[in-house]
Symmetry: C2
Amino acid sequence: MADVETARGLRKTLHDRGMRMTPQRQLVLDAVRSLEHATPEQICQRVQETAPTVNITTIYRTLDLLDRLGLVRHTHLGHGAPSYSVEDHQHVHLVCHVCGSIQEIPCELLDPLVGTLRERDGFELDASHLALSGTCRDCLKQEQEIE
Amino acid sequence: MADVETARGLRKTLHDRGMRMTPQRQLVLDAVRSLEHATPEQICQRVQETAPTVNITTIYRTLDLLDRLGLVRHTHLGHGAPSYSVEDHQHVHLVCHVCGSIQEIPCELLDPLVGTLRERDGFELDASHLALSGTCRDCLKQEQEIE
DNA sequence: CTATTTGCAAAGCTTTTGCTAAGTT
DNA sequence: AACTTAGCAAAAGCTTTGCAAATAG
């Protein structure tokens, strides 16, 4: 895995691919790092606090780039805009498909699964940004009452 | 869990909530059942083969309803429109966040996790429509080559 | 000088909302 | 009559595209 954690590492990684490190890219990355689970819209607002002329198009392009480099991840929590966060923000989301509520659990709970997929499929599961869908405790209870 | 598998069961479930079974709802459900992993757009096209005047608004409203009843599930495979399928279409998707490729694995692999979440959080994980994000074998190999 | 990146405006696609008409109980 | 549902049109929300100007190597 290319070193991409440090500013210098990122610069080199980009350079190896014929790309450049720019102020905009640094600002977007900083914003994602500090916000945790932010939509492109929210990230744009944060970046514009420092550099008001940065366009949301650049936010989208940069998020896509950083995602492909593995520096950030996006998750679809329910419908609507996806939510971006940095790679090391460690937890898993339980999304209730009935009420839309979201709770977080430690991602260590997925360690067994990560191992299984690595051996079976050569697939490196990113357990740090998962949205798992199901029914939450409250909605299960309500279903029983209607029945 | 309310019986919702049969046409009669669905009718009753709806009735208990002050709702009705309609031809449109039946058609949408049939379409989702036969298509497997279809977008609202595709479902609409299928429904319109039988009933050309059904509006896509109705598709959206019905999918949302069926989702809340637990009859269908939606998954976000990458960006763009979500993909709907019936509850019993059993497999899990591994989505590569680098190249976007998708592979399927049997959902039994998640049984241990389902048990853990049920005990720990009272959360009933729906393991039949999951999209797990990570890096696929090919993209892992390519990363190593660039390095 | 060449290639990459940005900002801007416009277009594109998906989804939701407001409202009226139609259908059920 | 009261209430749910459907269709339609318009609006809203999110994302991408095309292109010229700016910037970096």
